[in-house]
Symmetry: C2
């Protein structure tokens, strides 16, 4: 069952940790690099579990979905294709396996023993979400001008041009509205387990007129899904891991400076003003601000190397309620 409002777990709910698919697989052509990176994440998990029991991990899947799309493309015309919801479910399987295996290994000597499990997660979106009218999320390989034109005509794909890469398909990235498996995730987290859930932002589904779940051709931002999960679970802590130690103003300029703390209101205002890049730091700051505002607890944005210092207030960016 989902947590009732005012649930006593609230005071000691799980931590929720979000991190990108490229934290595991920076180069999809070298899958062997995933294992040592998963070990580094397992170290982070131990650090968080030492501070409070119960942890929900929400991973991204960009490079992993990209690789499956390349395979599907390689067999185009000879083998059936697969819609995006199914592709996301496959990456929940493969990344969930990598994480649960590696985390079990990292926790094998932990006393008391810690259960680790991956719950496949469907996330409901609203078909009326404006994102469906304006697809913005690039996925899969880049194409030449000719191929892109053909794909636009034959498959109705929306394409955008990326400098130096070529044309890429863009798909809708609607807001997550609810997590179908919230009850199972809640039960496992309440029991103190480590739960891998909402991978890739969740398998996108909608409810039809009869209330039945139907797959949707979209991808959901994993930071938004993680924030929604953290709010629904009344998480004790929400950490967004990224590739840099903290949020910066005037990033990559001579004036770059660390943002140490922001209130959720200030953070949302900076996001609305477009201070942070859309599709990059913007959604992370927004996800953290929503959590801080709703749950009245601080959220943290940092990288793996700085996490321990950030937990003690010496690094990272903290978004306060």
């Amino acid at each position: 069952m989902p947590p009732p409002p005012g649930d006593p777990l609230g005071a000691s709910g799980p931590a929720v940790l979000a991190f990108g698919g490229n934290a595991l697989l920076p180069d999809a052509f070298h899958p062997e690099e995933q294992e040592p990176r998963a070990h580094e994440l397992a170290r982070i998990v131990r650090v968080l579990l030492d501070r409070s029991p119960g942890l929900v991990l929400v991973h991204g899947n960009g490079p992993q979905v990209g690789m499956i799309l390349l395979r599907v493309e390689a067999a185009r015309g000879r083998l059936p294709s697969e819609p995006l919801d199914v592709l996301v479910s496959e990456t929940q399987g493969s990344i969930g396996y990598l994480l649960t295996r590696t985390l079990r290994n990292a926790l094998v000597e932990h006393a008391p023993p810690i259960e680790v499990a991956c719950v496949l997660t469907q996330v409901v979106v609203d078909p009326a979400d404006p994102a469906f009218a304006t697809p913005t999320k690039p996925i899969g390989p880049a194409y030449s001008d000719d191929v892109a034109a053909t794909l636009r005509d034959q498959r109705g794909w929306r394409m955008v041009h990326e400098d130096g890469r070529g044309w890429r398909r863009v798909v809708p990235s609607p807001e997550p509205r609810s997590v179908v498996e919230l009850g199972s995730i809640y039960e496992a987290a309440r029991a103190g387990h480590v739960v891998v859930a909402g991978g890739g932002g969740g398998i996108p589904v909608r409810r039809d007129a009869a209330g039945e779940l139907v797959g949707v051709e979209a991808v959901i931002d994993k930071d938004r899904t993680a924030s929604m999960l953290a709010i629904a679970l009344r998480a004790h802590r929400f950490v967004v891991l990224t590739g840099v130690p903290h949020v910066s103003l005037d990033y990559a300029t001579p004036d770059e400076r660390r943002v140490e703390r922001l209130s959720s209101g200030e953070a949302q205002r900076l996001v609305d003003e477009g201070v942070f890049p859309a599709g990059s730091m913007g959604p992370k700051v927004e996800a953290a601000a929503r959590f801080a505002f709703e749950v009245r607890r601080p959220a943290l944005i940092t990288d793996t190397a700085s996490l321990e210092d950030a937990l003690d207030g010496r690094a990272g960016t903290r978004i306060d309620p």
Copy 2:
């Protein structure tokens, strides 16, 4: 936590239902056929839940893994390949999604509400299992004589010739020894949920000298894994769904006759004598006999159309303790 011996749940444990990947996808080139077949399975699930709460579903994945292997082959040399454990994990994702979505839809008006979840499942095998010396399980596409010879030389694959098809890769099919996620599966089943677990027989792993989990190039028979899960969970009922309404003697001959009931001892003897085809009805009868012997409750082998009659003793084959 796994169930302690003599656990009181024993008297009212979940049902465990095993069925093949081709029950969902008889023709991997027509994935659209999966949806109506999943609906038929959902009907079966309602029948079982009406008789007792809690259900664990163990699905096969033959055609689904075959399709991914075809895609991997189509991109051979240009994209990295994936080991078998990862391929199985991808099918746990995609088939688990299909099943949990369809089952939620079938149970949407059920009162009280029933939680449905898929738990990614690793299954430990023994590296000393004799199956590793004698691979027997064919997977993936069939190859011509020339290609098969190249694959044997370049990749060290074992190949077998199938009449009318060509050469196919064979991989080890070791015995399942334990289920890594048993605790999570047990907790969910005890709460009365429907749990999809052990898909494709489970993601094959072994423990290294340090006790850490390592992926294995093998596939595990899903009926064996289902039987082991049913025993570990002290299941109330174990049903093996197959393509025929019951076990037969002298199958597909003029003397064919239904096997109505067998004791576990008789069943095992017939398996040992090779009365049933290996890789087909043999493993199902053996899996049912092991459950009946260990848990002292009958197991059932039947098809979807006959299940209700079989539960009332009017169809199917029943293996008694």
